[in-house]
Symmetry: C2
Subunit: 214 residues, 2 copies
Amino acid sequence: MTGRDSIPAPAVQRLSLYLRQLEALQFSGVGTVSSKQLGRSLGLSDAQVRKDLGYFGQFGHPGVGYRVDGLIQRVRGILGTDKVSNVVLVGAGNPGRALASFRGFSKKGFEVVGIFDSDSSLAGQPLAGLPTCVIQPMREMAVVVRTKSVRLGILAVPAPSAQTAAAEMVAAGLRGILNFAPISLQTDPSIAVSTVDLAVHLEQLSFQMTGSAG
Amino acid sequence: MTGRDSIPAPAVQRLSLYLRQLEALQFSGVGTVSSKQLGRSLGLSDAQVRKDLGYFGQFGHPGVGYRVDGLIQRVRGILGTDKVSNVVLVGAGNPGRALASFRGFSKKGFEVVGIFDSDSSLAGQPLAGLPTCVIQPMREMAVVVRTKSVRLGILAVPAPSAQTAAAEMVAAGLRGILNFAPISLQTDPSIAVSTVDLAVHLEQLSFQMTGSAG
DNA sequence: TTTTGTGAATTGCTTCACAGCA
DNA sequence: TGCTGTGAAGCAATTCACAAAA
């Protein structure tokens, strides 16, 4: 295959931002957008936008710009979110339950089809946000992953349990993990991992602010 | 000033990861670490670790490595988290309350000293995680920011209200925003903004997984 | 010997600038 | 004219490789 891994990672990240912006434009009824407009709304140059999209194909119309509806379809196709994906949630503590009740997932094509916790005393308990889902013990995860073709898991357990939980997720057949525990997971390179660490973000802001003015 | 803005942004991001790892090493009683060990635990080369730390000073000892305790102090100093920072939370809905009860902030030197919501009917309501804090109306934010020297705010309101809320935060005197709303905030360049969008992370994982195998 | 710190070489990303199309 | 798509140029970040220190 020619393209795929020669595409810069930063370009793929921005692709998600373009999609988010395009969906906002679609919602406000805009039919067409230029690379200049799209870039400006995200603090990027027009050339950056065109180059990024260019890695994936030719979607624009010279003299016109990009058709919003069409480009949304194409970008979703590239990211693999044009079909609904089932995901599972691991960890039914405070953060896990907050994520379970988060509406944004389904809007973007992700459906939570199971929530698991190593504390079996929680098993059977229903969830505020997901009335069709009850908390299940970890050992049930593999069968849910298999029967519902789940590939992605969200990890929301305390840091000390996270590495073990991640291993269980991989053993259950998951291929990607969105990790909310503040540790660096050790996994096989074939497993996609993305870590969200609030402390890291606060530290970055702290550094930026320390830089300019007191 | 010589260094500051010639430091690559990726290096600053990794600095937070080094700190996280160093704190874990400290917790498990490790006194000294080499660039090779530190890099390996984060999936980075030893040269990368040394080069990154080299942007900020000389912290290592040839033949020995880096003293964990000392390096933690230095990195916290660089990031500006060696002293406690007060932060405010904007948005007392589900995500906001989940963030309020998050213990990780104080461990990293950030203390939530106020929570605000534009829905004044919530005002006065106490919070599960922060018993000393009650929800306050937005108009109280400016005085809290001033009296408690708050510079950083966490924005956790629905997307349609986020741009307005951000403007109010800036007007109240905040200099940095950790944004959980899935939009690109339009703010003055002097304001530091970091956006956490779960959908973006899921899309990135989806892309990576679509890449390798079905 | 082990490991740091750092110029030099390399790789990768972004910006430029313009041909081509509507 | 207005805008895309894209090689070429320029810039930034990473890796290499080695002198110096413990």
